[in-house]
C-alpha cells in the first residue's frame, strides 16, 4: 500500500509521463508528414480592395463609406464585416468552389471560398501551411455560368477557382435572407486539380507496431483475467 505521499505522486507521474510520451510520438509524426504543395498561388487574382477590414455595426456606427469599384476584388471577410456597405453593389469576387454544385431551377448555388487555402497557399493537407479558418460566400450562378463549376474542392481535389462579377444581396429573399452574391459574369481562373496526399511511411510503420502491441495487450489482459 502506497502510504507515503512520494509513492502516490510517483504513480501519478508515471502514468502522466506514459501518456505524454505517446503524445510526443504523435507530435513527431505530424512534423515529419510528407507534403506535396502544388502551384499554390492562383494567377490573375486582383489585390483585395479592402486590405484593412472595416467593421461596422448596424445602428451604431457611422454612415457607410463609398463602396468599392466593380473591377477591384472584394473579399468575404470585408463583406461579412460590413454587409450594408456592399448591399446592392456590383462586386468582383474570386474563390474556390468547395463541396458540391447545388443545382436548382435556373442555376446553381456554389460555395466560393476566398481564404488563403483557396487562393494563396493551397489546401492545407498538401501545403501544410496554416492560414486560419475556411471562409467564403454563397454565390448563385445562373444557367450558362453554373457549368463553369466543373469540379468542386474537397478531400481529394482543389476545386475550380472562379472569378465572378455579381450583385451583393445583404438579405437575399430567394435564399431565406442569406448574404449572397448573384453572379452575372464568371470565368475560371484556375481549373481544379487533384490533391496529392503522399503516403506517410513512418506513420504507417508506427501504426502497425502499435496495432501489434495493442493485440498483445488484449491477449495478455484476457489471460490475466482468466487466471483471476
Amino acid at each position: 500500500m502506497p502510504r507515503s505521499r512520494t509513492d502516490l505522486r510517483l504513480r501519478v507521474l508515471a502514468g502522466a509521463l506514459t501518456i505524454l510520451a505517446a503524445i510526443a510520438v504523435v507530435l513527431q509524426l505530424e512534423r515529419t508528414r510528407p507534403l506535396a504543395p502544388s502551384e499554390a498561388m492562383v494567377a490573375g487574382v486582383a489585390d483585395a480592395v479592402t486590405p484593412n477590414l472595416l467593421t461596422c455595426r448596424r445602428g451604431r456606427d457611422e454612415p457607410d463609406p463609398p463602396p468599392p469599384a466593380a473591377d477591384a476584388r472584394t473579399t468575404s471577410a470585408a463583406l461579412v464585416e460590413c454587409p450594408f456597405r456592399f448591399d446592392g453593389e456590383t462586386v468582383t469576387y474570386v474563390g474556390e468552389v468547395v463541396g458540391d454544385v447545388l443545382r436548382r431551377d435556373g442555376g446553381a448555388w456554389v460555395q466560393l471560398n476566398d481564404d488563403a487555402y483557396a487562393l494563396e497557399v493551397g489546401p492545407l493537407p498538401a501545403s501544410g501551411e496554416f492560414a486560419g479558418y475556411s471562409s467564403g460566400l454563397s454565390v448563385w450562378l445562373p444557367d450558362g455560368l453554373a457549368d463553369l463549376a466543373q469540379r468542386p474542392g474537397g478531400p481529394q481535389w482543389r476545386g475550380d477557382v472562379l472569378q465572378v462579377e455579381g450583385v451583393v444581396h445583404r438579405v437575399d429573399d430567394q435564399d431565406g435572407g442569406g448574404l449572397t452574391i448573384r453572379a452575372h459574369a464568371a470565368q475560371v481562373l484556375a481549373p481544379a486539380e487533384p490533391l496529392a496526399r503522399p503516403f506517410h511511411t513512418a506513420q504507417a510503420v508506427v501504426a502497425i507496431g502499435l496495432v501489434v502491441l495493442a493485440a498483445g495487450v488484449i491477449v495478455w489482459e484476457r489471460r490475466s483475467r482468466r487466471s483471476r
Binding site: 486560419g132 479558418y133 467564403g136 506517410h200
Partner: protein, 501 residues
C-alpha cells in the same frame, strides 16, 4: 478533514477509467469504414494509432488495476471527471495527425468540443478534410451526447449497481427505468431509432437540395448526429447555410428539439403518456422561454432592420434561436453577422437562450429547464408565503414524470448550479474583455462554450490567445459535467496532496 486516497481508491478509479479509454479506442476504429475503402491510408493509420494507444492504455489499466471493489460516490465522480479529461486526449491523436490542427491543444480543444457536444471548432481548412476524419468529428457528438462513460461501462459491466454513481456523475440525474444498464440501453435505443428516421429525412432533404445521393447520405448521417446530440459540428465550414434548403433546416430543427427533450420524456411518450408533454415542468418552462426569447430575437432583428421581409426574419431568427436554446450551435448565417448585422437586442436574446439550455437528462447543455422552472416555482412560493398568514403552510409542487413536492434541498441544488453557470459565463466574458474583445462578444462566446452550444460570434479562432482558448476548453468540460463532478475531482486532487492518511 480531507482523507488522502489510498491505493485501493486509485485502483478503482484507474480500472473504470481504463474501461472508458478502451471504449474510446473502439470509437476511433469506426471511421475506418470510410478511410479503408477510399484508400485514404494516412487517415487510416492515424485512426489506428489513436485507437491502439487508447486500447493499450485502457487494457493495461484494466489488467494492472483489476478490482472487484464497488464504486462509491467519490470514485464515480472522479472516474467520470478523469474520463472526460483523458478521453479527448486520445480522440485528439487522429485529429492532430490529419494535419488540420496547428497544435495538439487545438486538436484536444475540438475533441473536447465534440465529446461535450459543444461544437466550437479550431480546425483549419475544414472544407478539404478527409471524410473519415470528418465522420470522426461527428461521431464524437454521438458518443459524448449519450454519455460516453455510461455507454462504455454498460457495455462491459454486468451490474447496474456498479455504474449507478457514474450515471449521475455524468449529468444524467434521472433513471428512466430502475436499472441503470437498461436505462442506458433505452437511451441508445431512442438514439438509434431517431438515427434511422433522422438520417433518412436529412438524406432526402440534402438530395433535394442538390447533393448526389451518396454524398447526401454522408451529410445526412453526420448532420443527424450533430443535430440530435445537440452538437453543432457540420461537414462544411458554412454549417447549415451551405445547403440553401428550408426543408433541411426544418428537419434539423425537429431533430434539435428531439435532442433537447429528456430521455425520460421520450420514454413517457414511447409509453403513450402524451399528457406528460403538457404537464412536465421542463416542457412548460422550455415552451415559455423559447417563445419568449423568440419574441425578443425577432423584435430585435426587426428593430435593427437586419431583414427586410418576414420570411427571412423568421427563418434566420427562429432557426438560430432554436439552435442556441437546444445547445446545438448550427448556424444559418456567418457568426460575424451577429455582431455587424443583428444589432444588440437579438444577440442578447441568443445569449439568454444559450445560457438557459435544454432539458435535464438530454444531450443539451446550459442551466437546464428543470433548474429554471424550480427556481421560478421557488420564487412564486416565497411570494405566496409573504401574502398568506404566518401560520399557513405553503406547499408548492411540480410535475416531472409524477407530481413532486418542491423541497428546499431541490431549490438549493438548482440555484447552486444556476449560479455556477452564471459565474462561469461571466468569468469567461471578463477574460475575453481582458484580451481585447468587446464585452457583448466575449459574453456571447463564453456562454456558448460553458453551455456547450457552439455558436460563435468570431472570438474563437485558431490564433486566439492560449489562456482564453484553455478557458473555453475548461468551460466546456465544466458545463458538460455540470460543475459538481468537476469540483469533486478537484477536491480529490487536493486530498491527494494535502489530505491526511
Amino acid at each position: 478533514m480531507l482523507i488522502r486516497p489510498d491505493r485501493d481508491d486509485f485502483r478503482t478509479i484507474g480500472f473504470y477509467v481504463g474501461k472508458v479509454l478502451t471504449g474510446v479506442g473502439v470509437l476511433l476504429l469506426l471511421p475506418l469504414v470510410f478511410a479503408v475503402p477510399a484508400g485514404d491510408w494516412n487517415s487510416a493509420t492515424a485512426l489506428l494509432i489513436g485507437a491502439a494507444i487508447a486500447i493499450i492504455v485502457g487494457r493495461t489499466s484494466e489488467a494492472l488495476l483489476f478490482t472487484r471493489q464497488e464504486l462509491d460516490w467519490s470514485h464515480g465522480l472522479v472516474s467520470v471527471a478523469v474520463s472526460w479529461l483523458l478521453g479527448p486526449l486520445f480522440v485528439a491523436i487522429p485529429l492532430f495527425l490529419s494535419g488540420h490542427f496547428a497544435s495538439y491543444l487545438d486538436a484536444y480543444f475540438d475533441a473536447m468540443s465534440g465529446l461535450t457536444t459543444s461544437g466550437l471548432a479550431t480546425i483549419q481548412d475544414l472544407d478539404h478534410l478527409s471524410r473519415s476524419m470528418n465522420l470522426l468529428r461527428h461521431l464524437t457528438h454521438f458518443a459524448g451526447g449519450q454519455g460516453i462513460v455510461i455507454v462504455v461501462l454498460t457495455m462491459f459491466a454486468t451490474s447496474g449497481a456498479q455504474v449507478g454513481t457514474l450515471y449521475v456523475a455524468e449529468g444524467r440525474d434521472e433513471r428512466i427505468v430502475p436499472n441503470v444498464v437498461r436505462t442506458a440501453r433505452f437511451i441508445y435505443g431512442v438514439a438509434l431509432a431517431y438515427a434511422v428516421v433522422g438520417t433518412a429525412a436529412l438524406t432526402w432533404a440534402a438530395s433535394a437540395a442538390g447533393l448526389r445521393l451518396p454524398t447526401a447520405l454522408y451529410h445526412g448521417f453526420n448532420l443527424f448526429m450533430a443535430a440530435f446530440d445537440t452538437g453543432g459540428f457540420s461537414p462544411m465550414s458554412s454549417s447549415i447555410a451551405y445547403y440553401h434548403s428550408a426543408a433541411l433546416e426544418m428537419v434539423v430543427m425537429v431533430l434539435m428539439i428531439a435532442g433537447t427533450l429528456s430521455f425520460g420524456l421520450h420514454f413517457a411518450l414511447w409509453r403513450g403518456r402524451r399528457r406528460e408533454l403538457w404537464l412536465n415542468l421542463e416542457t412548460r418552462t422550455l415552451a415559455v422561454t423559447v417563445f419568449g426569447l423568440l419574441a425578443i430575437v425577432l423584435t430585435g432583428l426587426a428593430h435593427a432592420g437586419a431583414y427586410e421581409r418576414v420570411g427571412g426574419l423568421f427563418r434566420k431568427g427562429a432557426f438560430t434561436l432554436l439552435s442556441a436554446h437546444t445547445g446545438t450551435g448550427f448556424s444559418v448565417t456567418s457568426g460575424r453577422l451577429f455582431s455587424t448585422e443583428w444589432g444588440l437586442i437579438a444577440p442578447a436574446g441568443i445569449v439568454m437562450a444559450m445560457a438557459l439550455g435544454g432539458m435535464a437528462s438530454s444531450t443539451a447543455g446550459g442551466i437546464k429547464a428543470i433548474r429554471v422552472g424550480i427556481t421560478v416555482k421557488s420564487v412564486v412560493r416565497d411570494i405566496r408565503r409573504l401574502l398568506v398568514p404566518e401560520s399557513a403552510l405553503v406547499v408548492s409542487s411540480y410535475h416531472s414524470n409524477r407530481r413532486q413536492i418542491l423541497r428546499d434541498s431541490e431549490v438549493r441544488g438548482a440555484i447552486t448550479v444556476l449560479v455556477l453557470f452564471l459565474l462561469s459565463y461571466g468569468a469567461g466574458a471578463i477574460l475575453g474583455v481582458y484580451y481585447g474583445f468587446q464585452f457583448e462578444e466575449a459574453l456571447f462566446e463564453s456562454t456558448s462554450a460553458a453551455a456547450n452550444v457552439g455558436l460563435s460570434i468570431g472570438v474563437l479562432s485558431p490564433d486566439l490567445a492560449t489562456p482564453l482558448k484553455v478557458t473555453y476548453l475548461i468551460q466546456m468540460w465544466l458545463g458538460r459535467l455540470e460543475f459538481m463532478t468537476a469540483f469533486a475531482f478537484i477536491g480529490y486532487l487536493a486530498a491527494m496532496f494535502r489530505g491526511r492518511l
